[in-house]
Structures are given as structure tokens and as C-alpha cells.
């Protein structure tokens, strides 16, 4: 989908939502189409070259913000069996009048277990800040490849072309789409990750998992460990416990909700877990 289309769908859905609510129906409105976790605040392409500059994304709310963006995300981010059937619940108690679009949708944000930032996932708002977010998300991807790959080469590669062919509308490996996918995966898995508390060695560990994912978003078998850092002879037990928390994060929050048309991009994914910046 293009950005426009997705915006349109989301906008329409919100309007439907308000219409239903204003009719004071008590039934829960259906969640926004699951096909649309794309962050609404996608950077427009002119900014892509800039992305090459910023240093490693890591810390700094990148995951948080992403969650923001994917407000319609139905997956329960916390282990509590809260019925988080999307942003809807709050508008009901608030007896929203059919205000022009914006307001009520913002309300759903606060109840969302983690993220603060009441701003935006408003489709209309299109532009709100997270360019930075996206930059970070994108540069996450970019950093992993060679510096050269940051810029254009993808566009000119034969491989890229062949992959592009398999994509419906987007006729390029759009870095934004990839960034979108990364953000979507992160926003779904990170809230499910409970790294071990307090073990001193654990802060210096990282683990890289490989996942094969089915079309419905479920994980094939168990995620495999590609590599792990920070393991010494003395902390092997900690290392195993640590790796298991990563694996559990993936399995708990599967099946992942990702756009079907990009399946070829996300049928195999690697996730790196690094707690070093957590307090």
C-alpha cells in the first residue's frame, strides 16, 4: 500500500469508529484492519539521505515511539491478560462527541500500558515528529550492511530488482518499508522481553536470534541462536537463562502482525537483544 492508501484506510476506519460511538453502541468496535501496522509517520523520501549520518539508534525510545506509531497494534504488550483490544475502550467512557477526528483517538494512547507520548498516531497528522524515529529505525538496518549499501546500490542491484518484482506495488526495496517492518517487529517483540533482573554479567550480554516466520506470522519451530556475546566460562548458566528470555519474548508475542505483501522480506528475520542500555 502506498502511504496515501494506508492513511485513507486508517482515516476511514476512525470515522467509522466515531460514527459508531456517537451512536452510543456498546459493542466493541472492530479493531483497525490488522494489515495496517505501518507507522503513519513515515518519513518522506527526501530525508532518506540524511539518515546515513546519525549514529547508532539504540536506546532513546526508538522502540517506544514505534509502539506509539502502531497504535492500532492489537497485541497485548504486557503479560497481563488485559483486554487490549486496541485504542477503542477509552473513547466509550469518555462519551466522546464526534469531534472532528483528532481528539478521541489520542485518548486511547494513555491507557496503553507503556507508551506515554499522547501525540499522534493520527493518520491525519501525517507529519508528527518521529522522523528521528524513523531515521533511527532505518539506520539500524543500514548500519548492519556495509557503508556503501547505505546509499543507492540497492536500487541498482539485479537482486534488488528481482525482489522488487515480487512486490506488488512498491517497485523498489523501499528503505522505508524495511524500516517500517523493523519497527513493527521491534514494537511487537520488545514489550514481551523480560531480561533477567539484576545479574551483573547479564548487562554485558547480547544474543542474536534467527526466526523463520510463517505467512500467518507464527514462528516456525523455535528461534535459533545465531550468536551470543558476553559469555565467559563462568557465566554459562546466566548466558543460557539470558538467551531463553529472548527466545521467550519472540514466542510470547507471536504470531506477529506484518504486512502480507512484504512477506518475502520478513519470512526470515534476525533479532538482536541487547540490554546494555536498560537501567
Amino acid at each position: 500500500m502506498t502511504e496515501r492508501q494506508s492513511l485513507g484506510v486508517v482515516g476511514l476506519a476512525h470515522l467509522v469508529l466515531f460514527a459508531v460511538l456517537s451512536l452510543a453502541l456498546t459493542s466493541v468496535t472492530p479493531p483497525l484492519p490488522p494489515e495496517d501496522p505501518a507507522p503513519v509517520d513515515v518519513v518522506d523520501i527526501a530525508e532518506v539521505p540524511k539518515i546515513a549520518e546519525p549514529p547508532r539508534p539504540s536506546k532513546r525510545a526508538a522502540p517506544q515511539k514505534t509502539v506509539e506509531a502502531t497504535a492500532p497494534e492489537p497485541t497485548p504488550p504486557t503479560p497481563k491478560p488485559e483486554p487490549a483490544p486496541t485504542p477503542d475502550p477509552t473513547p466509550v467512557p469518555k462519551a466522546e462527541k464526534p469531534k472532528p477526528k483528532v481528539e478521541p483517538v489520542e485518548k486511547p494512547e494513555p491507557p496503553k500500558p507503556e507508551k506515554q507520548k499522547p501525540e499522534k498516531p493520527k493518520p491525519e497528522k501525517a507529519k508528527p515528529a518521529p522522523k528521528l524515529l524513523d531515521a533511527e529505525a532505518l539506520s539500524t538496518l543500514l548500519d548492519k550492511s556495509l557503508p556503501k549499501a547505505k546509499v543507492k546500490p540497492l536500487d541498482t542491484s539485479a537482486l534488488a530488482k528481482s525482489i522488487e518484482k515480487s512486490l506488488p506495488r512498491t517497485t523498489r526495496i523501499d528503505p522505508r518499508a524495511t524500516a517500517t517492518l523493523i519497527g513493527a517487529i521491534r514494537s511487537q517483540v520488545a514489550p514481551c522481553w523480560n531480561p533477567p533482573i539484576g545479574g551483573a554479567d547479564v548487562k554485558k550480554m547480547t544474543v542474536l536470534l534467527h526466526l523463520d516466520i510463517n505467512r500467518d506470522g507464527s514462528v516456525v519451530g523455535r528461534p535459533g541462536i545465531v550468536s551470543q556475546t558476553g559469555v565467559t566460562a563462568g557465566n554459562a548458566d546466566y548466558a543460557r537463562a539470558f538467551a531463553e528470555t529472548a527466545r521467550r519474548a519472540v514466542l510470547r508475542c507471536a504470531p506477529l502482525k506484518l504486512p502480507a505483501e512484504l512477506y518475502d522480506q520478513w519470512k526470515a528475520v534476525e533479532i538482536n537483544f541487547d540490554p546494555s542500555e536498560m537501567s
Partner: protein
Amino acid sequence: MRTLPLLLALLIAAPAAAVIRVDINSGTAQPLPVAVPAFATASAVATEAGTTAALGQQVAGVIAADLASSGLFRPLDPAAFTTTVAPADVTAPQFAAWRTIAAQALITGNVTANPDGGITVGCYAYDVFSAEELARQGFVTTAANWRRAAHKCADLVYSRLTGETGYFDSRIVYVSETGPKTRRIKRLAVMDQDGAGHRFLTNGQTLVLTPRFAPNQQTLTYMSFANNRPRIWVYTIGSGRQEAVGDFPNMSFAPRFSPDGGTLVFSMSQNGTTDIYKLDIASRRLARLTNGPGINTAPSYSPDGSKIVFESDRSGGQQIYTMNADGSGQTRISFGEGRAGTPVWSPRGDLIAFTRLGGGKFRIGVIRPDGGGERLLTNAFQDEGPTWSPNGRVILFFRTAAGRGGKVDLHSVDLSGANERQIKTPLDASDPAWSPLLP
């Protein structure tokens, strides 16, 4: 020219384009939700401690309480369970039922009566989301000793999920206090680390202080004012036998065992000077380790027995020093504001817990044996006398409240400074000491 590196880049970039890599740098550090349903039993058989079915419930309760007390686990409320565990489920759990309540690990097992009147407790831990078994072990003991089987199961789960060794199958000895502060009655008391099985060991007629376990946990050493002669004693827990150590003319106090149990290290005061001595228990040979000036006391061995940490005021105020077990190489390791005392070496050897005095408060802190990395873990009026859990992860101490008749009670805190909690005792309590893991 440019194209060659580009092509190379493409070749290498191509796989990167094929497998997305996601970085996750934050999660939620929170206790792990686990489910501990009642242990199953093939058939309810009566034992000297109740039926196996009843024991199955109690075992699960003890395990859940242990895990919760560590602050690292969150046992889910059994009222939320959607299924019970039948004997067949113990080895083949219905994971779906546990997934719906978001339990990440399942601890389950069974209790079986043995022909000799004892019980076997089977303990199984599963990862709910990956549907695989994490650990399993059976524990055989007398029916009356079922608590220890439960603690051992909790230790198994704890160590498998955290990577640390456990500490739940252990005991605490301490001084039970009662009465007005000006006429305090003190008794030695012992209990399981979860407070069960509490027993008084002395009757309160003589003032007793600072009890510590021997490595075999069968004996204690402590200080008593019996017969108006303040000195160190050894108490055999099983028989209740008490024996004074040595016949020294002067006050002896602050005793501790060496890790191999063969030596007692303690302080003796003479005409205003207090020094540290060690006594070889078998040969009764006494060796002097410090030679003034001032007060040298509160010695504690490193877990490998090669070094001793102690406090001394030779620099003008109480500070912490380490030395070799033969008394050589005495080095000060605590600096900074205020004073420091009551040092205790962690069973892991990596840290020393101590009391930091200053600013009108006593606070529990930890410091590395080289003197670096000092961290204060508590912040109340008067916290002192730390002791380590067997796995070097939890510190137990006693806290005095300010004011007249201020309560004195036991508290514990995780090494990270989190999960500070009170350990309930029948009366006021001080001078706690934690046993090693029971074998």
C-alpha cells in the same frame, strides 16, 4: 573502478537485504510470571505429615512463596488457573491453558508416598511458550521433611531460570529480643529462611549475641555473658549442648568459623586494646593475627579461606581492612565519608557487605575486596549487621527504628538494591546469620 566495490557491496549487501535484522535494546525488567499449581498425586495416601494430596498443595505453596520472595518471579494467583494438573499432565502439560494466563514458566510435579513412609517429590519446570522441559528432579525424604523438598524444587527452578545457584533450602539463626531496652532479654533462635520451623535455642537468662553457623550447619558459635564472663561459645543444634571456647581471662567475642570449619576467628580485649585471634579447633592452638593499636574486630573469612576481612579503628575511626589468613598484608579498603564496620565476605567471593556509618544513619553497603565499587543498598535510621544468602545474591540485616522503644527487626534486600522486605519473627530480632545451602 567504482563499480567493483559497489558490486562487492551488492553481493554482501544482498543477504542483508534478504534477512532483516531488528535491534531490541529495551524490554521490561520485571519479575517473571510463573504458574505453580498444586502438585499432583496418583492417589491420596496418608503420611505422617498429611495426605499426599494435601502435601501436593502445600509444596506448591512453599515453592511459590520462595520464588516470590526473591523478587525475580511472580507466581500467578491460582484462582486464575484454568486447569488443574492431573498426574498425567505432570510429564505432558497442557501448555495452551498456561499460555492463556500468560505464565512464562510452569512449575509442576507430584508427591508420592514411599513404602518406607517417606515421600518422593517430583519437580518439573517447563517453558510454556516454547513448550519444552527446562529441568526435572526428584527429591526423596521423610514426610515430615516435605518443606525441604519444596525448597529444593524452588532452588532447582530458580537456578535454571536465572543462572544463579539457589538459596531457598537454608536456615537463619538470629537473636530474638524482647522487653524494655534497659533490660533486654535475648535468646538464640533458628528458623528456615522462609520463617517456618522457628525454634528458640536458649532461655533468655543470659545475654547472648552474634550467633553464626558452622559450615556444616550443625553447630553455631556465639558470644554469651554466662557467669558474668563474656566469651565465645559453641552450640550443637541437635543436642542443645553448649560449650565455652577456651579459658581466656579476657572478654572474647565476634566469633566466626573458617569455610572449612576447622578454625574459629574472633576478637579478644585486653586492657582497652582489642585484637583478632584464631583458634585451631582440633589442636586448640591460638594464634594472634593483629597487634593493636586500637580496636580490631568483626573478622570474616573469604570463601576460599585465604583471606580475612575485618574492621579496625587504627586510622582514627572504624574502617574495613583485609589481610591474609595468617595476619600478614593488612590493607585498608574502605575510604570516603564516615565510618565502616561489620564486614562480611560474600559466599561468591566477589563482594563484601558492611555497615556504613555516617550522617546520623547506619546503612548497608557492598564493596569489592579491592575497595572499589562501593554501593549503599539501604537508607533507614539504623541498618547494621549484614549476612549473605548462600548464593551471594541477597543480604539479610537488622533494622532499628528511631525513638524510644524503637522496634528492631530483620530485613533483606537483593544485591541490586531492589526487593527490600521484612522477615517476620515472633518478637524483635537482631544479629541474623544465614546458613549455607543445606546438602
